[in-house]
């Protein structure tokens, strides 16, 4: 259980940094201080300064906001559409509708998420919102499949049979009995998709398809750092480490939650 707690601590710290950035950052990143550029970390700038002399710690805090917002909304989109689709497919298991929903999912899976993002940006132009949509679309089949699979095994259970005998509709059974029983599974998968979303956002903004300046973003910071890496390694190291630590924390939390919440894994351990 050590991993779970470490994961929770890291995640809380990152979220706290993002929240604090709404009211306070060590320096104002709108103010450029070019003479003080590419300063290595010291007491005045704890994580150094970038090529415009902006404080990197402040940018990391603001970047955390972008990463969390993009990944969170993308997971929200995936759940809001994927879970109902999965429930619906499970309620009508074996029907044409089930087949259509699942084949549709396979099709989305066949598009690499990056390619979806590229298509969307080619049409609507690069922005954080389009990055959210691209990552969110890719989350839909993940949640739909997981929900359908879990719901299918629940439909075989006696308490669902009892609900059906009571005359409850498939919709009410899905809502009142299936959904509460798969919440744990969704929390675990949500954590994992959240960390994948952070990686995806970083990759998209690295190639210029994500958040646009002046919005701070970890991926953008790395793109800016690429040509400066020999002059000042810290401009590339710090944002990269921020991503690694955040994703690691979320994954540890996801794995830990799975051990706690997922009955299948619990049964495995005994």
């Amino acid at each position: 259980m050590k991993g779970l707690w470490l994961g929770i601590v890291i995640s809380v710290i990152v979220i706290a940094l993002a929240v604090i950035s709404f009211v306070w950052t060590p320096y104002d990143i709108q103010v450029l201080d070019v003479p003080n550029k590419l300063h290595p970390p010291d007491a005045t700038n704890l994580l150094g300064t970038d090529h415009f002399g902006r404080d990197i710690l402040s940018m990391i805090m603001l970047g955390a906001r972008t990463s969390i917002a993009v990944a969170l909304v993308a997971v929200g989109i995936g759940m809001a559409i994927g879970v109902p689709l999965g429930l619906w497919a499970a309620a009508r298991r074996g029907s044409l509708l089930d087949e259509v929903i699942m084949r549709g999912n396979d099709l989305i899976f066949a598009f690499p998420s990056l390619v979806i993002a590229i298509l969307i940006t080619a049409v609507f132009g690069p922005s954080a919102v389009n990055a959210i949509i691209a990552i969110g679309i890719f989350n839909i089949p993940v949640f739909a499949r997981l929900t359908r699979g879990a719901a299918l095994s629940l439909w075989e259970r006696d308490f669902i049979l009892a609900a059906r005998v009571c005359g409850k509709s498939a919709f009410r059974i899905s809502w009142e009995h299936i959904l509460p029983n798969i919440t744990n599974l969704m929390i675990v998968q949500g954590t994992i998709q959240f960390s994948l979303g952070i990686l995806a956002e970083a990759a998209l903004s690295y190639v210029g398809l994500g958040a646009q300046p002046p919005t701070a973003s970890w991926g953008r910071m790395l793109a800016d750092a690429q040509t400066l890496v020999t002059l000042a390694p810290h401009v590339a190291l710090v944002p990269g480490l921020a991503i690694v630590v955040t994703v690691l924390g979320l994954n540890l939390m996801g794995d830990g939650l799975r051990d706690r919440l997922d009955p299948r894994v619990r049964a495995d351990r005994t």
Binding site: A110, I118, A122, Y206, A236, G240, N251
Partner: protein, 315 residues
């Protein structure tokens, strides 16, 4: 087996048709007239009409969709708006970088993941297992493009073992080209190797609990012999599926890594085309990537069914 293959082939075709309609429709809704963009503000109507014909932009959406699809089937992907060369030529140039890169990364990922996964499974719960699992946690958390930048700093700039970017071209020699692709391939392979090692480990652990493993031990095989002859072989089945999926990821993921190393592959082509609004190129490259991904998954499905007869009846 034949029925299964035909069924999968049908669903492959349907997927491709839907994918092509989606891609075409998405590109179609983009505002702006390409011809006006190329010619600027002042142009003569007949010039515009001629250019429109040359680029294949006359006619309604439906007829253009069909000419795009039938063109692709015969290897004619249309003419690039900006390069004014056939898109097929542009693609065949670039795929000579992207495909070898993906294959190279796949080989590396497998070479790292197999021993790591088997080692971890055979030392379940021990220090070796914990170390390997810790490393895989790290491997999936590291963005591969950042790892690539760090490797450039260490191995290209400081140690000068590898070039920091660019691609000499296969005509300049096999080894020089492979050397240029080595750092990109390692960067691309890292997260996939971490995932694959985990799959290998858990799949092998599942096998170790099976009755046939006990039988193998009972008939006198040593632990090691039983592990290799029966455990690893059976554990490979789920691992092969993941490898197939990973190939698709590597092909698409290469788009980002190509940016780090300035490699002239499909990724750079697509980004240049986006910024130049050269949509026919975007359209065709995206379709090609989706086609390759669907094709790889189809092949894996078939290979899987050939190995495991239970799957044929299920589908």
């Amino acid at each position: 087996m034949l029925r299964y293959a035909l069924k999968r082939l049908l669903s492959l075709t349907i997927s491709l048709i839907i994918a092509s309609i989606v891609i075409f429709a998405v590109i179609e809704v983009i505002p702006g007239d390409v011809v006006r963009q190329i010619l600027g503000e002042a142009y003569r109507e007949d010039t515009a009409a001629a250019l429109r014909t040359e680029l294949g932009l006359d006619g309604g959406p439906v007829s253009r969709y069909f000419s795009w699809v039938t063109g692709m089937l015969t290897g004619d992907f249309g003419t690039s708006y900006t390069y004014r060369t056939p898109v097929a030529d542009l693609i065949s140039d670039r795929i000579g970088v992207s495909l070898p890169l993906a294959i190279y990364a796949l080989v590396l990922s497998t070479l790292i993941a197999f021993p790591a996964g088997i080692y971890a499974a055979s030392r379940r719960g021990g220090a070796g297992d914990v170390t390997v699992m810790g490393l895989t946690q790290l491997g999936v958390a590291i963005p591969n493009f950042w790892f690539a930048m760090i490797m450039v700093l260490v191995f290209a700039i400081n140690l000068r073992w590898f070039p920091s970017g660019g691609f000499p071209g296969w005509d300049k020699g096999f080894w020089v080209s492979m050397k240029a692709l080595t750092l990109p391939a390692i960067a691309l392979a890292l997260p996939q190797a971490a995932i694959l090692a985990r799959v290998m480990r858990s799949s092998l652990l599942d096998m170790l609990g099976e009755d046939f493993m006990r039988t193998a031990r009972a008939k006198g095989l040593t632990r090691r012999q039983a592990l290799w002859r029966h455990g690893v072989r059976n554990a490979l089945i789920p691992v092969l599926t993941i490898i197939g999926l990973q190939f698709a990821f590597l092909l698409a993921g290469g788009i980002i890594i190509e940016q780090v190393f300035y490699l002239p592959g499909l990724g750079r082509l697509i980004f240049q085309a986006i910024s130049a609004r050269d949509l026919i190129v975007v359209e065709s490259v995206v379709m090609l990537l989706v086609f390759l991904v669907i094709l790889v998954n189809f092949t894996v499905d078939l290979a899987y069914a050939a190995v495991d007869p239970r799957l044929r009846s299920r589908a």
